[in-house]
């Protein structure tokens, strides 16, 4: 006899298995919780930074002290106690490692379990990786090969020491320290992240990738990424992230700045899989991130692609300032929320130059009791003759306890602009699942088929090596719910 159970209830109530939830037993140095000028001095000193960097941080800290946490996003959480967080955690044995062979075996194992081998010969063909654990970068692969082309790819800490002029020229030019509350916090306490500079006319022949891992307890992760494509340069960059399963929430407040000069192109892809919390909403990462790119020169192009499956709360709007004439900005996003996850994500496209074009494709997928919001701004400034924007925002609901919301903001100050916005909402209800079952597909296969079909346009923008991974990840985040 069949029970009258709600199929979707069963789907979304099943135990979620977060594959990356393990904790590594790595000896780490963790400073006591709390935030004041002394902590900032300590971070700066630990990293052997020049004085200008310390002053920059302290200035940011003073801004931050006068700012308040933004609450306009469609997310709910308990107040964060910024004095209860530890702002620096580093594996003890890493700081001295000069080559990949010297890395602590436990650390190496951690990344291997995550599918990120740090031996160069085993690294995914054609991908250079910078691995960041808690507050420090532990390894960067393929450096010599890149150096021969004049490409700099290293941790930001190292860049501050080794390439201070480049860092000083560009740091904070796209996301100023006082841009917003979380950006100011990051500017004051950022611990590591990646730096990349591609010189004029060089096409970076391999994918660059940073893998972020939170390991230590009660710490925040504040990474800072700065990527510069000089005139006529091209680079494709991918960021991945995971964290152990814990009952308490952990804060991740990153800043990413991209700068594309004349005729340059930057492709930035993210596969975000921070621990999302358990099915009751306990634990998980607060992912409050500021990402912005500047198309500074004419004919430049910046393209953001993101697959967001993790985090308890996601607050991020990878944006492009289209300053150069004929420049192009793109944003392709799939954001999945399940159980009690909340996401408020989207983009800003600011048209400043003439003939600038932007394209936004956002696909939200909500399941369980989650809330998924798209928030996007398209602004056309008065001098941006012939600006074009096209936005497509689709929402897919699985079951009827989740929510999808769309908040498009359009500000047009030039009459020659053409701005188009399309939005759809679809729902995978029991009727659809049953229809698929009746054709011989089990529920998991049916959900995977629908999700992948739905997200295809965005996944196809990812570098090949990662598209397959991302597709699996999407299926897992929902199938984890499908049991």
């Amino acid at each position: 006899m069949s029970e009258n159970v709600d199929i979707l209830e069963r789907l979304t109530a099943a135990d979620y298995q977060y594959e990356y939830g393990f904790e590594s037993q790595i000896e780490e140095e963790v400073v006591a919780p709390g935030l004041d000028e002394n902590i900032i001095r300590l971070i700066s000193q630990k990293k052997g930074e020049p004085d200008w960097m310390l002053q920059w941080r302290l200035q940011a800290f003073r801004y931050w002290q006068h700012m308040s946490e933004p609450h306009w996003a469609n997310v709910r959480y308990e107040p964060i106690d910024y004095q209860a967080i530890s702002y620096y955690a580093a594996p003890k044995k890493v700081s001295q490692a000069r080559s990949l062979n010297e890395i602590d075996p436990e650390l190496r194992q951690t990344f291997e379990r995550l599918g990120i081998p740090l031996h160069e010969q085993e690294v995914l063909a054609g991908v250079a990786v910078d691995a960041v654990l808690d507050s420090v970068s532990v390894a960067t692969t393929f450096r010599e090969k890149l150096q021969s082309l004049g490409i700099i790819f290293c941790s930001i800490s190292e860049a501050i020491r080794e390439y201070p002029d480049l860092v000083r020229t560009y740091l904070g030019t796209v996301v100023p320290p006082n841009d917003n509350f979380f950006a100011a916090l990051n500017s004051a306490v950022f611990t590591d992240g990646s730096f990349c500079y591609v010189p004029p006319g060089v096409r970076c022949p391999i994918e660059l990738s940073t893998y972020f891992r939170i390991n230590a307890r009660n710490t925040g992760q504040f990474e800072r990424t700065l990527i510069i494509a000089d005139e006529g340069a091209y680079v494709s960059y991918l960021e991945g992230c995971t964290a152990p399963m814990r009952d308490e929430n952990q804060l991740h407040a990153a800043v990413v700045e991209l700068i594309a000069l004349k005729n340059a192109e930057i492709k930035y892809s993210t596969v975000q899989n921070w621990y999302p919390g358990d099915k009751e909403g306990r634990g998980g990462i607060y992912n409050f991130v500021t990402k912005r790119g500047l198309c500074g020169g004419e004919n430049s192009k910046i393209s953001w692609t993101q697959v967001e499956t993790g985090s308890a709360i996601t607050w991020k709007y990878p944006s492009v300032i289209l300053k150069g004439d004929n420049s192009i900005g793109e944003f392709y996003s799939v954001a999945v929320t399940n159980h009690r996850q909340q996401a408020d994500t989207g983009t800003k496209m600011v048209h400043v130059g003439r003939n600038t074009r932007s394209r936004i494709v956002s696909k939200g997928i909500s399941a369980g009791y989650s809330q998924n919001s798209y928030r996007g701004l398209v602004r056309v400034n008065a001098n941006a003759e012939n600006a074009r924007n096209f936005s497509q925002c689709d929402s897919l609901l699985i079951g009827d306890r989740c929510g999808a919301h769309t908040f498009p903001y359009i500000e047009v100050n030039n009459p020659t602009a053409i701005v188009e916005h399309e939005a759809t909402t679809s729902k995978i209800g029991e009727d659809i699942i049953f229809y698929c079952n009746q054709r011989g597909l089990d529920t998991e296969t049916a959900v995977a088929l629908i999700i992948n079909g739905y997200a295809r346009e965005v996944l196809s923008k990812l570098p090949m090596e990662f598209a397959v991974e991302a597709q699996k990840l999407l299926t897992i985040s929902l199938e984890g719910s499908v049991g």
Partner: protein
């Protein structure tokens, strides 16, 4: 005598506290076309849904044997893989999944169950083109999301197209004729007739004699308030068309 393909014994099914099927006995033999008629709300779609394994309904009594297996123990997808197909009265739209991808996945699931190798892309495409002709489906539909934006009649034709692709042993057609224009009705009926084999049985649920002029049934059953109250040869459908249901209702109620 051949074994029935489907045997339904004393089937009772309810939704919530409401009993909808109240003791159904029915045998369907290989190659047979069996028509089920009956007034609105008599339980025809419910019977189809219970056979297909929809969980909203509780089977409270009775048994169903399909191909020698206890159907009630199988999940909906296992029933489908065993060769049971339901052409829905109201086919749903599946956003983002093309008809080609959907059918390829479904067909390969069925083939796996039958111990066959999956079809490769070429073999599959040529099969689609061949079967689409049966119900005059344009190849441009293959790349469109399943049923999305299809007209009512196109959705119904698409159901028969899927039937042709998946080659079930038992096909249940729930009011496939409703919403079809006269030409489409012919196309669908010709398609179904072309798909008749000595092994494959059809259960055709309909309100109208018109469809049964094209798809000639071996037997006609009348369902009323969750029971089969009359069975007969194809002439029964003609009688019903002429006289309505009142005369059998009265006899049934007199007997009850």
């Amino acid at each position: 005598m051949t074994e029935p393909l489907l045997q339904i014994r004393n089937l009772h099914a309810s939704i919530g506290n409401k009993e909808i099927l109240r003791g159904i006995d029915l045998d369907i033999f290989p190659g047979q076309v069996c028509a089920i008629m009956g007034p609105n709300g008599s339980g025809k779609s419910t019977l189809a849904a219970v056979l297909a394994g929809r969980e909203d309904y509780q089977v409270t009594e009775g048994e169903i044997i399909f191909n020698g297996k206890n159907l009630l123990e199988l999940s909906p997808e296992e029933r489908a893989r065993e060769g049971l197909f339901l052409a829905f009265q109201y086919p749903v739209e599946i956003p983002g999944v093309s008809t080609a991808t959907f059918l390829k996945t479904a067909l390969n699931e069925l083939r796996k169950h039958r111990g066959l190798e999956p079809l490769d892309a070429m073999e599959f495409m040529s099969l689609m083109h061949e079967r689409a002709k049966l119900v005059h489906i344009e190849p441009s539909f293959f790349s469109r999301a399943v049923n999305e934006g299809f007209s009512g009649g196109e959705k119904k034709r698409n159901e028969i197209f899927q039937l042709a692709m998946l080659e079930p042993t038992l096909a249940i057609l729930d009011e496939t004729d409703s919403g079809l224009d006269i030409d489409a009705l012919r196309i669908v009926a010709d398609g179904v007739n072309a798909l008749r084999t000595p092994e494959r049985a059809f259960v055709v649920i309909t309100h109208y004699q018109r469809l049964l002029n094209y798809i000639v049934p071996d037997i006609v059953h009348v369902l009323y308030r969750g029971r089969i109250i009359k069975s007969g040869a194809k002439e029964l459908a003609t009688e019903l068309e002429a006289q309505g249901y009142d005369w059998i209702k009265e006899t049934a109620e007199a007997q009850a």
